[in-house]
């Protein structure tokens, strides 16, 4: 039995080594994905171009304006004379954020204790606009507090927010777990469904089924090498995240790896299921694309937060395995959570695994009986 299994794994390894495309997908893609996401997908910004309409032109307004670029996040590109000029600047794409300071700014501030400053953003990029306004808001509030110390405003509520687990809002903390989930799903499910579909396409699957091998051994033998390789790939991504983007693993590494293995088995079972229903590699590829790749990217909470999705999509996201694995990863890596905290998502993944195994086993039997 073991000898047969080894023959199988050997043969599968030859396939992988012979096919450069497979190797590129197995090891090139994870590296490319990490680097692409690491350097492009980010809410962090610096030197955002801002424009000011200063209708007051007094000491205090000058002080405020001079303080904005000091943070390094903003770059003052335009001094507009009026709102119309500011709008022209937006249309030309020169400005991302406009600050309008009203008449008699200093006078209103010190006499009435209240003054309105208007922030105008280019919301064609909504996320970016929201980030900019948030940041400008907090800068102006800080400025107000500094001035208040001089003049001692009697009543005020001071808000201090603290960002837990990712205090400096580093994008990599979000995407490294997401990339691991994506890669494991892609490599395990897509590659196994392709490799099994290939055997069906070339007729070699018939030969295997005619041999004394049990169907279970055929599937396990085919899947095992891919499982091992994707696990190595996942380790590489964790390591890259740690080395290049300083993403920590605060919690228990063994726990993380065990659950990583669980998720990997779910992905493999999905791949086997897809391969049993597809007749050719092309069909397997299309099915994996539409049922795995896109949902894992879009509905797992990796790129878009699940909380802001419409109700039907939120329900769909519940059956995406990556969603649970990302929750687990973030809990262990960033919050340092233990067993008890990740028990629920782990149970969900385990149930998914059992359902998928039963489904693919039945589907396999239907095809070959």
């Amino acid at each position: 039995m073991l000898r047969v299994f080894i023959a199988f794994v050997k043969k599968e390894t030859f396939h992988i080594l012979r096919d450069a495309r497979t190797l590129v997908i197995l090891f090139g893609m994870p590296i490319a994905l990490v680097l692409i996401f690491g350097y492009t997908v980010s809410n962090e910004f610096k030197d955002a171009s801002i424009a000011v309409v200063d209708q007051s032109r007094d000491d205090l307004s000058q002080k405020l304006i001079s303080q904005l670029p000091a943070s390094g996040h903003f770059q003052l590109v335009d001094y507009a004379d009026n709102i119309e000029a500011l709008e022209a600047s937006f249309k030309a794409g020169k400005t991302k954020l406009g600050i309008v300071i009203p008449n008699c700014f200093e006078e209103q501030f010190f006499r009435n204790g209240t003054v309105k400053v208007q922030l105008i953003t280019d919301a064609t990029e909504p996320n970016y606009a929201a980030t900019l306004t948030n940041y400008a808001n907090s800068m102006i509030r800080k400025f107000q507090l500094e001035q208040a110390e001089v003049t001692r405003l009697p009543y005020q509520i001071e808000v201090r927010s603290r960002m837990l687990y990712n205090p400096s809002l580093i994008g990599a903390y979000n995407f490294i777990p997401g990339v691991v989930a994506l890669i494991l799903m892609l490599i395990c499910a897509m590659m196994t469904s392709l490799t099994i579909a290939k055997e069906k396409e070339t007729g070699t699957m018939d030969l295997l089924l005619v041999s004394p091998l049990s169907p279970l051994l055929i599937i396990v033998g085919k899947v095992a090498p891919y499982a091992a390789l994707s696990f190595v790939s996942a380790l590489a991504v964790f390591a890259m995240g740690y080395a290049i983007f300083d993403v920590p693993i605060i919690g228990s590494l063994p726990l993380l790896l065990v659950l990583c293995l669980l998720y990997l088995l779910v992905a493999l079972a999905l791949g086997v299921l897809i391969s049993t229903i597809s007749k050719s590699q092309q069909v397997a590829m299309m099915v994996s694309m539409f049922t795995l790749l896109l949902p894992t990217m879009l509905l797992s909470g990796f790129i878009f937060p699940i909380e802001s999705m419409p109700f039907p999509l939120q329900q769909i996201s519940r059956i995406i395995p990556a969603k649970y694995f990302i929750v687990i990863e973030k809990a262990i890596m960033l919050k340092g959570a233990g067993w008890d905290a990740v028990l629920m998502p782990s149970i969900v993944l385990a149930i998914m695994l059992v359902v998928l195994l039963v489904a693919s086993w039945r589907s396999f039997k239907v095809v070959y009986k």
Binding site: F8, F14, G203, L207, P212, K369
Partner: protein, 246 residues
């Protein structure tokens, strides 16, 4: 194993919904015989062969392979048969040696047995120079002969060949048939489907399948006498026409 027939099928039937692909076929194949299973494309040959080798479950009927029942003793059958499909089914991206080693491996041969078989096959086919090349680079005729040799890697008593010589010229087909004779001479039963009538002449006995039924069975000589003609082509055409214009 005490059975005088290598293959015995009784009223073997396969239906897909309303369509009857194989309609109650009954035949016996003697041990060591070359049995030709003829029919037009779509006559049900491949479906019939798949039922015999356990890839497809019959709707009705009985059959034994090497004395083993196709419903209950599938494991014993699998150890005693070799199979070569019409897609010839070797791994094109593996070398000749890797293919032989893999198929030997899945039939549970040990290293020594595999190496022995490897030398035997490579010498028999004259593949010494190509042994370390990938199968995909070989000419089709060579691939087919290699596939046949691999189907016999575990010395099975019966080898099933499903249209083994599709797409090659008559000279290459002839070479393939010499291998079949050699195996048959060593006592291996050969069950071969084809739609080349010249190949039918090479068989000990043949059955001709039309639209799911076996319409004629006998040696090539008997069939030609029965239908009063001197070529298998004419036997076949008469059978197909009688079915189309009853």
């Amino acid at each position: 194993m005490v059975n005088e027939y290598a293959i015995e099928a009784t009223n073997l039937t396969k239906r897909f919904g309303d369509f009857t692909a194989v309609d109650a076929i009954t035949f016996k194949v003697n041990k060591g015989e070359i049995f030709g299973f003829l029919g037009a494309n779509g006559a049900g040959k491949t479906t019939a062969i798949k039922m015999l080798i356990g890839l497809s479950r019959p709707t009705e009927g009985e059959a034994t392979i090497a004395g083993y029942d196709i419903y209950r003793q599938t494991e014993s059958i699998k150890e005693n048969i070799g199979y070569m499909s019409q897609k010839f089914s070797l791994y094109e991206d593996l070398t000749v040696r890797q293919n032989i080693r893999f198929y030997g491996g899945i039939y549970g041969l040990n290293r020594k047995q595999i190496n022995y078989k490897m030398d035997e096959i490579i010498t028999q086919l004259g593949l010494e120079k190509q042994a370390r090349k990938v199968v995909g680079s070989l000419p089709l005729g060579w691939k087919q002969r290699l596939a046949f040799a691999v189907a016999g890697v575990h010395n099975p008593g019966i080898i099933f060949l499903d249209e083994p010589t599709g797409g090659v010229d008559p000279a290459t087909r002839r070479q393939f048939w010499e291998m079949i004779y050699e195996a048959s001479g060593e006592g291996v039963t050969i069950f071969v489907t084809t739609h080349y009538m010249d190949e039918a002449e090479y068989c000990d006995r043949i059955s001709i399948m039309v639209a799911g039924r076996i319409d004629a069975l006998g040696s090539p000589r008997e069939l030609k006498d029965r239908y009063r003609t001197d070529t298998m082509d004419n036997v076949f055409l008469q059978l197909v026409r009688s079915r189309e214009n009853p």
